[in-house]
């Protein structure tokens, strides 16, 4: 049976709250309101106020509290309403959560999960449409998960909660209503590895999160048996699974990276650089990128659409590259 990405996140969260005795959810409007994206709808009634904690509007405070609770032996799941507000908590996320283990000479472990929605596309303008997951992937000490499918949304949290390191999960705002089949008992699941969503020999298309469904749709639209495209879903931005990327390029010799973040100093730039450093001789064509336009997100629908890579942009870029094949 098909379920939504939202329902998948909800099932994953519920499973963890039931199975992990010391887990709890803390964040703004996770309880009485039911979660801004309704992921924790009815959880307050089911689990009580100790496990589902409605936090004051204090991103630094409740993220820091989560770190302390993790140090003290609990398994906190901190929900920051959106990635945009995570900027307020960056000091805690970076200077404390990411660094404390290293700074303490390996004594301290911080089994902390921070979930947040990310991405643009809902006409929320500049302050509510950021994609900072690639930016946070700059930081040693953090693991960055970006579920793009219903199944990943269902199962990633379990791994994050059982990881002794701080793990950030970015749930894309445009994916909440997508529906797909979901295996409740999936085997060989490793969220830290990239996965090939579609195999092909003509070109490697690298993407993740909210851009992945657009990439798969674009590939579908230009499907041609002679120019089959391989689609890689990164799933985890740090640590980055280079092996899957390099293996694919050895076969296809062409790469397009589609990332919702800005180009400058970005994850797409990092991936591109690593490809040049490690498999330059495999390339028959310069690495290409489709990214967010270098502007704060505009409100007007047509302008917002122009700022984010769309299916038609991906189709055009793929055709451009494939004519060269």
């Amino acid at each position: 049976m098909k379920i939504s990405y939202r329902e998948a996140l909800k099932r994953g969260l519920r499973e963890v709250l039931i199975n992990e005795k010391n887990s709890f959810l803390i964040g703004e409007d996770v309880g009485a309101y039911g979660g801004t994206y309704a992921v924790s709808q009815d959880f307050l009634k089911e689990f009580g106020a100790e496990k589902i904690m409605d936090a004051p509007l204090s991103e630094v405070g409740f993220t820091g509290l989560g770190i302390g609770a993790a140090l003290g032996g609990l398994k906190p799941i901190v929900e920051i309403m959106t990635v945009n507000f995570s900027l307020l908590a960056l000091d805690q996320i970076i200077n404390s959560a990411a660094f404390m283990r290293y700074m303490s000479g390996g004594q301290i472990t911080i089994p902390l999960v921070i979930r947040m929605t990310t991405g643009g596309g809902r006409q929320l303008a500049a302050q509510h449409s950021n994609s900072f997951e690639g930016w946070l992937a700059h930081i040693p000490g953090l693991k960055i998960l970006v579920p793009a499918t219903v199944e990943d949304a269902r199962h990633m949290l379990r791994f994050a909660v059982n990881d002794p390191n701080p793990v950030l999960i970015f749930e894309h705002a445009m994916l909440f209503n997508i529906k797909d089949e979901c295996d409740e008992a999936v085997k060989d699941f490793n969220p830290y590895n990239a996965t090939v969503r579609r195999t092909g020999k003509a070109l490697t298309l690298i993407s993740y999160g909210g851009m992945l469904p657009k990439c798969l749709q674009a590939v579908e639209e230009i499907y041609d048996a002679k120019t089959e495209i391989e689609v890689i879903d990164l799933r985890c931005l740090r640590p980055l699974d280079e092996k899957t990327i390099f293996q694919s390029i050895a076969k296809t010799h062409h790469v397009l990276i589609v990332d919702e973040g800005w180009k400058s100093g970005s994850l797409s730039a990092e991936i591109s650089a690593r490809i040049m450093e490690c498999c330059f001789s495999d390339l028959d064509f310069p690495v290409q990128r489709l990214c967010r336009k270098e502007v704060p997100m505009p409100y007007a629908k047509h302008m917002e659409e122009a700022a984010i890579p769309q299916v038609k942009d991906i189709v055009r870029k793929l055709q451009e590259m494939l004519y060269e094949v």
Partner: protein, 317 residues
């Protein structure tokens, strides 16, 4: 306080001061590098508070925390080796002066971002509460931290959710070089804490008797009411903020005036008045401390440097 306790407190304060003096000297000899923030003048606060704790209790401190770590039970050897950047240090030489850690002694830093440790203390206390662990959580921070958002957010949550933290503000009147009166509109810090519907008291931080009395009172309240408590310790830093500070922001006379209130000299005077401290006892005490610090420096000197091959170790667990 009985005689033995007063003797211990005096020795602890002298140990803290001696260790700081040794660190300052080794800094000029370039054995210790980076930033070095000395606690000289403020010893009564950490000594009084931490002596009221047991080994299982949690302590979160700041970047001026050498004394706090020592008092919480971290050895002077492990602290000194950390200063030297050696693998025998309490953070394996990864942290330095500002990041002393010891999980074994429940000492959670050594946090060098002002006020960032305060919400950690709230989380630690919440964990102890939920896990039914019999441990207190004490959080030290300076008055400068009370201008940071993290302070206000943490105070609000602790009070709102009845999380039993003892908040210890070490008010030494200067946030680096900026005087309290020049940076905070409300300079009555007890009033500021009470805004969060939290009980709060002012303490003479140069008088260890007052420190101990008020700490006990706060602990009793926390135990009884299952709520947090805020203490403002009025104290003074006799030395510059760090080794790079030319001290242009305060008068020499002001510093000299506070030095007359030296917490160690104060306790010594009180003990002599009670006729429980002789010159011989003091001499013997200092000889022991001298030896402890010599041993610590020797240990630090002889401790190995971490293998560069381990540079990437412990980024992840």
């Amino acid at each position: 306080m009985d005689t033995a306790m007063q003797m211990k407190i005096l020795k602890d304060m002298r140990r803290v001061r001696k260790m700081e003096d040794v660190c300052a000297e080794l800094y000029t000899k370039e054995k210790i590098r980076g930033f070095l923030h000395l606690y000289i003048g403020e010893e009564a606060v950490a000594t009084g508070v931490i002596n009221m704790l047991s080994p299982k209790d949690n302590v979160v401190a700041t970047y001026r925390e050498h004394g706090h770590a020592l008092l919480k039970g971290v050895s002077s050897k492990a602290i000194m080796a950390e200063m030297f950047g050696k693998v025998g240090g309490c953070s394996k030489g990864r942290g330095g002066s500002m990041h002393l850690y010891s999980l074994e002694h429940r000492f959670f830093g050594g946090c060098a971002i002002v006020a960032a440790g305060i919400p950690h203390a709230v989380g630690l206390a919440m964990a102890a509460q939920r896990l039914n662990e019999d441990r207190q959580t004490v959080c030290f921070f300076g008055e400068g931290a009370m201008a940071e958002g993290a302070f206000h957010e943490a105070m609000n949550m602790a009070s709102l959710w009845h999380i039993p933290v003892l908040f210890c503000c070490e008010n030494n009147l200067y946030a680096m070089g900026t005087a309290l009166v020049r940076s905070q509109a409300q300079t009555d810090l007890v009033k500021k804490a009470k805004v969060y519907a939290m009980e709060a008291e002012r303490v003479d931080g140069m008088n260890v008797f007052d420190v101990i009395e008020k700490t006990k009172m706060a602990q009793d309240y926390i135990q009884r009411e299952k709520k947090p408590f805020f203490l403002e310790f009025q104290t003074y830093r006799f030395k510059p903020h760090s080794m790079f500070d030319p001290e242009k922001y305060r008068d020499k006379e002001e510093v000299e005036k506070w030095k007359e209130r030296c917490p160690i000299a104060f306790l010594e005077k009180k003990m002599r008045e009670q006729k429980i401290l002789s010159n011989e006892q003091l001499k013997l005490m200092d000889a022991e401390i001298e030896q402890e610090m010599k041993d610590a420096v020797l240990f630090a000197e002889q401790s190995a440097l971490e293998d560069i091959a381990d540079l990437a170790k412990d980024v992840f667990a």
